[in-house]
Amino acid sequence: MTDNASYSRRISFDDVSKFYGDVLGVNRVTLSIPPGITSLVGPNGSGKTTLMNLMTGLIRPTRGSVRVFGISSSDPERFFREVGYCTQFDTFPRGMTGYQFVYSFLRLYGCTALEADELTWRSIERVNLVEAAHRKIAAYSKGMRQRIKLAQATCHGPSVLVLDEPLNGLDPLVRAETIALFKVLAEDGMHVILSSHVLHEVDAISDQVIMLSNGYVVAEGQIRSVRSEIREHPMQIVVRCRKPAEVAAKLFEQEQVVEARVHGDGRGLLVKTRDADSFYRLLNKIALNGVGIEAVAPADDDANSVYEYLIGSEETAR
Amino acid sequence: MAIYKRGYRTYSGPLTRERWRFLVLTRYAWRTIFQSRLLTAFFVFSFFYPLGALLAIYLNGNATILSLLHQSSELLVVGNKFFSVFIAVQGTFAFFIAAFIGPGLVAPDLANGALPLYLGRPFSRADYVLGKMMVLFGLLSFVTWLPGLLLFAAQAGVAGHGWIWDNLWLARAIFLGSLIWILILSLLALALSAWVKWKVAAAALMLGIFFLGAGFGQAINLILRTKQGTLTDIGNLMRVVWHDLFRIERHAFDFPPTEAWIMLILICCGCLALLAKKLRPHEVVR
């Protein structure tokens, strides 16, 4: 993804800072986001929404520049054609139907009545709301409201779709449908940028993750590759097997293994190692000695662990 | 070294009596109410008139002072007129106190969705309304019937034997008149704040209902050439009821007290209905 052709299809932040008076929004952010699903994670108040507002041109950076496909956010006429924004606020103009909501946005946008009508139906169809299009939004369920916002954000055919907490409050079925829709959009070459607090979900659906803390980007990329770069914490791997003590004994001969602890039930062990690659290679050999391996899994390369290592865990009393 | 591990535990101690639990709300509200200096000042200010009245009664019954002032007879007659003026003045103070405090009692709970927290406990809606009403009841009592009865007692002491037995109905009128007024004020304040869920708006609405209601009533009277228009004027309704209680002659332009009584009862019922509708632990889905 580093060749020049695809480089122009990127969202780029060049040393961007945003201050609201004395309040820090984000600071010294330099990013280059390729197409696909990108997730923003971080504690409340870490600058996720500020980053999204910058990305959609709703606010201008105090310093640096934000460009979508090379178009600067200080060129709103062209910039806004490329981005669609779905905010976290669950509020709508009073008394509107779903159709009117999307249609009026398109008219404001400068479409003719005919164009607007066609585009409205197209985007409403995409989010599967055709039957409910002429019902009042006030009578929609949470999932439907979330989808009509999505229709509004995508109706003018943007290449960048920015969604603030789009999955919040959705039930498991609607969640799955919405995620599937994001995937379709991403496969069509769109940038889908979303924020979420549910890390295991984020880990599973996104092509890359951007982690924010206190207004700074602390990590970006795929969770797994981010994990291997955190060297101060040895990798933890759980092995479930019939003879954990035997495995542990073999592992202790290795220098890179920091710790091997047999589980209380005698059916598995937790290994901490500095060099996961050679551990896995070694495991290939140990497995042949009849130790009865049943399951192997890294214990801390998921989003939650990376989050904990990079941002910290007990921040509740902020 | 001894180690004491303490943390959260389940509770197995005694529980308080359910019947009086509504007073918990009252206690907590009183604790916060006097944090407002404006209210405290106003509350103190509302005792000036009763103090003045007490002084007047004292002077009135003191022969030495009367002779010093070269007055042969009494300065004023302490009777039904005296007490009905007293209650009208103190009633006005009570009204402003109720308009000031009342909306702050319920509106914040509704705006922040606290009702499920109250009602999810062994604590009913009636307990809730009762607890909140007791806040106003206590405060307004200090402004109305408590000083009223004090003045009555003072006058009884000054006037000597007989007066108290001849005028016992006055004490009843002071007490009953105040009670009705307090009931109306607190129900209105709670119902309005439950309705608009915003205490500033509720206070404004409360003032509006009294002042605009009065103006509206006069307008109807003028246009339709009737006297029933002032039925919309709660202050006037109350005045008629007070005059009835204090056996003061009816003005020609007043409507009969029975109508005023009925109207006041209707207002109370309306407030209770509004409270019953608005004070729910959950929103009914469309």
């Binding site: 971080g42 039930d171 498991p172 902020r318 | 959260y8 914040p108 499920p116 927290l117 406990r121 632990p281």
Partner: protein, 321 residues
């Protein structure tokens, strides 16, 4: 032992709409997850157990108390954490929790003592003298939890307790739920859209749909493993690995990103897979027998009754063990 919650043909109507259509079941788990899509009747069920909605037909018992006759007893024994924001803005956390304790019947001094303990327990110790109006969303959630446990209830009903929490706050909330279940011996009913949360903290689930019980399950028993179906994640020369596995005679499907699923045919063991891995110099970073996640159970329950089209987008979010 009396069941925590017993439903007997419980039906609830709003106007002309049937919200709950005759639920019958007995829940006796220590922590019960209440699941279902929006509009399935979860909130109504909770509201009915609390006595906020009246049953049209049937009845329910909570800890053995009937909701038609013993509401006071139920509400005394129960702690409730509502879904929506619920607090009193101009009160400090301590006086708020104390007030709630007194309303549950604690004497004032006991309520004060326990208000402090509860706030420390949920992790708001440092912030307990601050006004609730100044709290962040996560702190308000914790304050709601503190008021729900101040009177030491036997049963705790939590409605979407992790909604809007950031990851550490969410993990903390789930840890508290487990702790209260295990150490304080409280029964917990947890209602959530995040299946993972329920999976992490509940041992039983009740799944509702359209006002009916579609599934009731003990999670331990349900999550049966299929010992012939293996999932793994390989790192290294994946293509060579795949073809070598196929040479063993196993049906093997690549799921992208180095992930494979295969059915072990007779005579083939896990150690054979490792031999292939060693030969091809491939690292097996993840390997397990397939077991049903709560998501699988949930989707099966949803499809069982009506079968709407469910997108397979869920599959990818099944990445965890």
């Amino acid at each position: 032992m009396t069941p925590v919650i017993e439903l007997e043909g419980l039906a609830v109507r709003f106007g002309s709409r049937d919200i709950l259509k005759g639920l019958t079941c007995a829940l006796s788990g220590r922590s019960i997850g209440l699941l279902g899509p929006n509009g399935a009747g979860k909130s109504t069920l909770i509201n009915t157990l609390l006595g906020f909605c009246k049953p049209a037909r049937g009845t329910a018992r909570v800890l053995g108390f009937d909701i038609r006759h013993n509401l006071r007893e139920i509400r005394t024994a129960l702690g409730y954490m509502p879904e929506n924001d619920a607090f009193v803005s101009n009160m400090t956390a301590v006086s708020f929790v104390r007030l709630m304790g007194e309303l549950s019947g604690l004497p004032p001094d006991a309520a004060l003592e326990r208000a402090h303990e509860s706030l420390f327990y949920v992790g708001l110790g440092e912030a307990r003298y601050r006004k609730l109006g100044t709290y962040s969303l996560g702190m308000k959630q914790l304050a709601k939890l503190a008021q729900a446990i101040v009177h030491g209830p036997q049963l705790l009903i939590l409605d979407e307790p992790t909604n809007g929490l950031d990851p550490p706050a969410r993990l903390r909330m789930l840890r508290l739920v487990r702790e209260m279940r295990d150490q304080q011996n409280m029964r917990v009913v947890l209602c959530s859209h995040l299946l993972r949360d329920v999976e992490d903290s509940c041992d039983e689930v009740l799944i509702l749909k359209d006002g009916q019980v579609v599934h009731y399950a003990n999670l331990e028993q349900e999550r049966s493993t299929n010992r012939r179906f293996v999932e793994m994640e390989a790192y290294g020369n994946e293509n060579a690995f795949e073809s070598a596995l196929a040479a063993l005679g196993c049906h093997c499907a690549a799921a992208g990103g180095g992930r494979f699923r295969m059915v072990l045919s007779d005579g083939i063991e896990i150690s054979d897979i490792y031999r292939v891995a060693a030969e091809q110099d491939v690292q097996l970073r993840r390997l397990n027998f397939r077991r049903d996640s709560l998501e699988d159970i949930f989707l099966r329950a949803m499809n069982g009754s009506l079968a709407p089209q469910v997108d397979t987008g869920v599959e990818a979010s099944n990445g965890h063990l």
